[in-house]
């Protein structure tokens, strides 16, 4: 009996958590002839017309491609750049190591919203406003990822690299062949969260991009809402396009998502 109540409660929360997504999906599949205001979750005559339709009013596939491009570059830069820095901080001894570590620690404490305006000035002086490069750069190597990977490298036992050192392998060879493969788990977490942050980011692309052709999905959708607010079916189709890839990724790799939260990869 107590189990019954537990499941009833679970189903109630389930409805609240994914009901809104399902309602959006349902709206996106409803044809022009169906009243979208009626509280009916099952479309009378499901159609994909809205997915084609949204591409007629805004270049939604260009937005998606831009988002994908930005996210992939972000993942590669973060995995490689943060791992390199993390490796140096954890496994190499040199003067100035503490100072370098402090720089990354300080960067974590800077809330992005507070540097929004002056970061825009930096991008403008580099001539990178309204470019996808300008979107990627500020988060290309996140300080948080550097420290996550530093901790992962620190946790490796010292002997791991000794044999390689005796064999005369240099630091780069040891990094690529021994250290990097040993922190695969953390790299997956970093990759996943870099992808998600980049794909979901809104405030920075909104500031730095001005040309609709360069828009990423998030600001493209906000733009769509502003221009074609009346047609809920199209907005719904656009949101499903934006959220479906992430949900898929999440379902495939959920274990790593939960681990990432545990390791503090996601700041909420």
């Amino acid at each position: 009996m107590r189990l019954f109540w537990r499941y009833l409660l679970l189903l109630f929360v389930l409805a609240i958590s994914i009901g809104p997504f399902l309602w959006q999906l349902s709206t996106s599949l409803k044809g022009a002839g169906e009243d979208v205001y009626l509280p009916d979750f099952v479309p009378d005559d499901p159609t994909l017309a809205n997915y084609a339709g949204v591409a007629d009013v805004v270049p939604v596939w260009t937005f998606a491609l831009n988002s994908l491009l930005v996210a992939v570059v972000n993942v590669v830069c973060n995995c490689l750049g943060a791992a390199m820095a993390g490796y140096a901080l954890a496994r190499l001894k040199f003067r100035g190591r503490r100072l370098a570590g402090l720089v990354f620690a300080a960067a974590i404490l800077v809330p992005f919203e507070t540097i929004l305006i002056s970061l825009f000035l930096v991008m403008r002086s580099l001539g990178l406003t309204n470019t996808l490069t300008g979107v990627v750069l500020p988060g290309a190597i996140a300080a948080l990822n550097v420290l996550l990977l530093r901790n992962a490298f620190l946790a490796l036992p010292g002997e791991v690299e000794e044999a390689a050192i005796i064999d005369g392998a240099n630091a780069w060879q040891r990094f690529v062949r021994i250290a990097l493969p040993s922190v695969r788990g953390t790299l997956v977490v970093v990759a996943l969260f870099s992808f998600m942050f980049s794909w979901d980011d809104f405030l920075w692309p909104l500031i730095v991009l001005s040309d609709p052709d360069k828009y990423t999905l998030t600001i493209g959708l906000a733009y769509l809402q502003g221009t074609f607010f009346q047609n809920q079916r199209l907005v719904a189709a656009g949101t499903i396009i934006a959220v479906a890839p992430l949900i898929l990724l999440f379902l495939l790799l959920q274990k790593h998502f939960f681990r990432g939260v545990g390791e503090g990869a996601l700041k909420g």
Binding site: G81, L121, L137, Q225, T239, L266
Partner: protein, 289 residues
């Protein structure tokens, strides 16, 4: 020696370059700009504390500061409590629990924009929520057109989106609560509510403080939810504008007042830092007790 002296710096170069150019420098520059009258083109003259004097007399600043503060107080209590209850609900390994945990986490991975658009549609004057309200015999609620309700709606969206994340944090913490305490309390005849208040909550206090800190800092910096629910306008007459929205509106565009926006950013930073320090203080007291 296992490496040449300059090798570590080659490893650090990309990371340090990005962090110094795109975090540390803009941050320091923001502090300098806050005391200037720099406009959209940058530059500007040193004007002392003029920007802060102007802020005190700026009704827009007070509206935004009030809204961000209200937001903080609105989202922290539910985000500390509800995810904890959720964690207790999904803690037991009953069949299908992985499915439920996964589903409860889904709102976390969706972007604030997607979430904002979904809820804009749900809370529309003729949307699904109002259909239900009407079916139950109530009158339609102007969730998005009344400036106070807009803010409350956005808070609800923030809570909805954040619950799964904090649930996972609580789950990890719950795994460390010794079970024998519970059993001892049960033997002493304590009911589930009593056990929750006297065993679970004290054991989880540090985690609850952490969750409070994270949700407070994030709540005070709210942007996307309010921006999306108000269609970018900040509500009727801008009455639901938040501090970050004000920074964005003030500092960008051809008429951007970079100096004043930087001063607003500095205020945002000081408050954020203050919230973190308070939390550290609270957690240190824990250790002493």
């Amino acid at each position: 020696m296992t490496h040449r002296p300059h090798t570590p710096w080659l490893f650090l170069l990309p990371g340090l370059a990005v962090v110094l150019m795109f975090s540390i420098f803009p941050f320091l520059n923001m502090i300098v700009l806050a005391f200037t009258d720099a406009d959209a083109l940058g530059g500007g003259q040193f004007t002392g504390v003029d920007n802060f004097v102007r802020m005190v007399d700026d009704p827009k600043f007070w509206v935004a500061a009030r809204n961000s503060t209200l937001y903080l107080f609105g989202v922290v209590p539910p985000l500390v409590l509800l995810p904890l209850l959720l964690a207790l609900l999904v803690r037991r390994q009953v069949p299908g629990i992985t499915f439920f945990r996964t589903a409860f986490f889904t709102p976390v991975i969706a972007s604030a924009v997607v979430v904002g658009l979904i809820w804009t549609w749900l809370l529309d004057s003729r949307g699904l929520v109002n259909s239900v309200v009407e079916a139950l015999g109530g009158a339609r609620i102007p969730f998005l057109t009344d400036s106070s309700l807009l803010l409350v709606s956005a808070m609800a969206v923030t809570v909805w989106k954040g619950m799964g994340y904090y649930m996972v944090i609580y789950l990890a913490a719950l795994a460390n609560v010794p079970n024998d305490l519970h059993e001892a309390a049960q033997v002493d005849g304590a009911g589930p509510i009593r056990r929750f208040v006297s065993v679970t909550v004290p054991a989880l206090r540090p985690t609850m403080v952490l969750v409070a800190a994270l949700s407070a800092v994030n709540g005070f910096r709210v942007f996307a939810e309010v921006y999306l629910l108000s269609g970018g306008s900040g509500g009727p007459g801008g009455a639901s504008t938040t501090l970050v929205m004000l920074i964005q509106q003030t500092g960008t565009g051809l008429t951007g007042e970079v100096g004043y926006a930087s001063a607003l950013s500095l205020v945002l930073f000081v408050v954020t830092l203050g919230l973190l320090l308070i939390t550290l203080r609270l957690n240190r007291k824990e250790d002493l007790l």
